[in-house]
């Protein structure tokens, strides 16, 4: 049987997200409770979490979380990792024994910085350098899969119900300011850990419910810009779409939302001229990145998240607020489970984003710091 990445597997799901807008960190207990309530929306074949703010002591390092199917894959990956990065700390990701979770791969994390001489020779941004490395490992080393590659954030995922995966990874022991979670209901899967969600790249994480009908149109467009859709999942494609639009193309978040969940032509016709021109141009130029078919997603980034529905709202998505905390989930009950009396609860319209940002931040990520500060490069190159 072919595993994910060799074959496209549709899946239905549950998603949930919690964030503290002041940036105060809190334990992963709530997010487990919230996603666990939607047990029926998963089938035990995938669950996972993304957590932001969990590695304050390593916040300048890329935290690579990697699955290895065997020791050889680990050796090969480490050889490559050491070639391109300086690893300052690595360890097995701590886990707890959970009776229902069997056959877990080797799960390791590395805190690393790009090697400066390599980075300079590479002549691209640091982000690009890391992305290329991740793509290289995931597409070229058999049995190795980098499933998290951001800074001060990490993803924990695997085959099982999400609450079991949370227990397995000791999610309750981490503290973050933004958590997202995913419970998966794939229609057909051989149970591969890499295939679980969230899907990540750099600081992006995406949890997603739905099956997009535009997948191949999206994929083939992304591949023109160097992305390799190795997993053949919608979530992977969605992550790359946002990475391309926001990071590579530097488009405003609002425009990215208007591309993936584009307003209908009939609505565009009624807009005032300036806005109409913008929308027409966005649809004409980036039409291949329209995400069609049902979806609800939570896109996480270092400064916050965007939750979004397809423009017909073919998947459920509910949002709520209480004080500094903002919640989004597939079902209202999953919010009330951890916040019984929110100040406000609403169901966003199709294509209408729910944006949660840390106080004082304007975008979901800080505009590219192109890697190292100048003096840091200077220092390191002198050291070399």
């Amino acid at each position: 049987m072919l595993k994910e990445g060799q074959i496209r597997i549709p899946a239905g799901c549950a998603i949930s997200g919690i964030m503290n807008r002041k940036g105060e960190v809190f334990s992963g207990r709530d997010i487990i409770k919230s996603i666990a309530l939607m047990h029926e929306r998963s089938n035990g074949l995938g669950g996972g979490f993304a957590a932001y703010g969990i590695y304050p002591e390593f916040k300048k390092y890329y935290a690579f979380h990697i699955f290895f199917e065997n020791k050889l894959a680990k050796q090969e990956t480490e050889f490559l990792l050491k070639k391109y990065f300086q690893i300052d700390y690595d360890e097995a990701i701590p886990t707890r024994k959970v009776s229902s979770i069997k056959k877990s791969p080797i799960i390791w994390r590395y805190f690393a910085k790009p090697k400066v001489n390599r980075l300079i020779a590479h002549e691209a941004s640091e982000a690009e350098y890391v992305v290329e490395f991740v793509m290289k490992v995931n597409s070229e080393i058999e049995g190795a899969f980098i499933f998290s590659s951001g800074k001060n954030m990490g993803v924990f995922k695997g085959v099982g119900y999400p609450e079991e995966i949370g227990d397995f990874f000791k999610i309750d022991e981490y503290k973050g300011y933004l958590w997202t979670a995913h419970g998966r209901f794939p229609t057909n899967t051989p149970g591969w850990w890499g295939g679980a969600h969230p899907f990540t790249l750099l600081n992006w994480s995406v949890v997603h419910n739905g099956e997009i009908s535009s997948y191949d149109a999206n994929r083939r467009y992304l591949e023109m810009y160097g992305y390799k859709c190795t997993l053949m999942t919608d979530t992977e494609a969605i992550t790359y779409i946002f990475d391309l639009l926001l990071r590579k193309f530097g488009l405003p978040l609002e425009s990215a939302v208007n591309i993936v969940a584009a307003p209908f032509w009939s609505n565009i016709e009624r807009m005032e001229p300036e806005r109409k021109k913008l929308m027409k141009s966005l649809r004409a130029v980036f039409g291949s990145l329209l995400i069609n078919g049902p979806f609800s997603i939570i896109l996480g980034g270092e400064n916050g998240f965007v939750a979004l529905n397809d423009r017909l709202k073919l998947r459920s998505l509910v949002a709520a607020e209480k004080g500094d905390i903002i919640y989004v989930a597939s079902e209202e009950s999953a919010i009330r489970e951890v916040c019984p009396n929110p100040h406000r609860v609403w169901a966003p319209q199709g294509g209408e984003p729910v944006i949660g940002l840390l106080e004082g931040k304007e975008g979901i990520f800080d505009v590219e710091d192109d890697g190292l500060a100048e003096e840091e490069i200077l220092q390191q190159s002198i050291a070399l």
Binding site: R8, P10, A11, G12, T187, G210, E211, I212, S213, S214, Y215, D216, A217, R220, Y221, E223, M224, Y225, F249, G250, L251, P252, E254, S255, A262, F264, W265, S266, E274, R275, K277, L278, S281, L282, R283, A284, V285, F286, G287, S288, L290, N292, G293, P294, R311, L312, L314
Partner: protein
Amino acid sequence: MSLDFATPMFLIERNKERCFNCQICIRQCANEAHKWDSKKGQVYSIDANCVNCHRCVLMCPTRALSVKKFPWEFRYNANWTPEAIRQVYLQAESGGVLLTGMGNDRPYPVYWDHMLLNASQVTNPSIDPLREPMELKTYLGRKPDVLKIKKGKILEEMPPQLELDVPIMFAAMSFGAISLNAHKSLAAAAKKMGTYWNTGEGGLHADLVEYGSNTIVQVASGRFGVNREYLNVGAAIEIKIGQGAKPGIGGHLPGEKVGEEISKTRMIPQGTDALSPAPHHDIYSIEDLRQLIFSLKEATEYTKPVFVKIAAVHNVAAIASGIVRAGADAVVIDGFRGGTGAAPLRTRDSVGIPIEFALAAVDTRLREEGIRNKASIVIGGTIRNSADVVKAIALGADAVYIGTAALLALGCHICQKCYTGKCNWGIATQNPQLTKRLNPEIGQERLTNLLKAWAHEIEELMGGMGINALESLRGNRLMLRGIGLNDRELNILGIKAAGE
């Protein structure tokens, strides 16, 4: 003079009980297949003149006529088919090149019919086009990689685009190859449906200037009718390098068709042959094409997209890539089944490749080179119905051209005799007695109906796939599965086999 071996292709059967010798068939047939026998006082038929265009059959008030394949048969021979035999006789008689009209009629595989579409079940809902918006709008033209946007405003002008409400345009057919009434029908229908029609190489008749904003004006090797006003009146310009029905060769409008109107429109003297050379004599290589593209852009001050049309030939992907790099805003590919007013039979039937392969190869190649956004892909030759349109877009086309299907809507019966100038349906002729049979009002209505019907069907098919905007179908090859294709064919088409 030797014996003429030519035998009739068709048999005209006249039901004597129904025929009352009204002679309508005589007046209707420009091929003179019906005659009046004044001695007997009755109508009779000359089978050998019949081209099976059905004009008399449909016009006969008592439905007394029918046309059949002539029952006279050669002895069966799988190698020497009746056509092969007849063609030898004909050439032995005339010493000439065999001419024909319309598209390749040989039994080559039609790959559209070897591709099946997807539909949503359970995991993903299908969308009902009667309840939900279904969007067929598309834009043709060069797209920038990125847009510069600040504070909700766009900071740069987009390159010129054509806006299509349906992804179907009317293919290039010149005034000369077809009648002015046919042009009027096409132009009016394009305007009504928010799409475009194409002048072909024959200029734009003064009466049609009002349709300029829905007109693609063609510039081909003969440069007929090309002037500054012509270029500027259209919405886009199409440089025609080649045509699917006759790749590698030019065109020839015989002098007898060049009457006053055509003479004015083409800017040539009345009665002279209009010869389009095989190549453009200022384009012997790709860098020359670039110069023509940019001279046309200069002439129109960069306000019109410039298309370049080529025939689907073996190396089409590399050629298309060169065309895009030369600055074309759209590449038009015409498949080997594409129609024509006149072509040498051997060229039509044995040169070029199927459009399905050409399209797949070009789309793949442009994506591999990262230049797919720089130009739109438009295909033609042959799109027969809305499912073909959907499959073409899923393979990677932005829009399609229809030629033969549009003529069928106007009454064409594909008798393949366009080159004789005796089209009884008033389409491929300049004879005023014949052209007046095509009422442009009715023609427009029939073409509009056709596009509306196809648009509805496209919406249904897209809705079934869970797609509500055309751009999500474009290049979405996962929506296709091959049936009865070998690995190599599947590979070229970039699709999986049914069941995979």
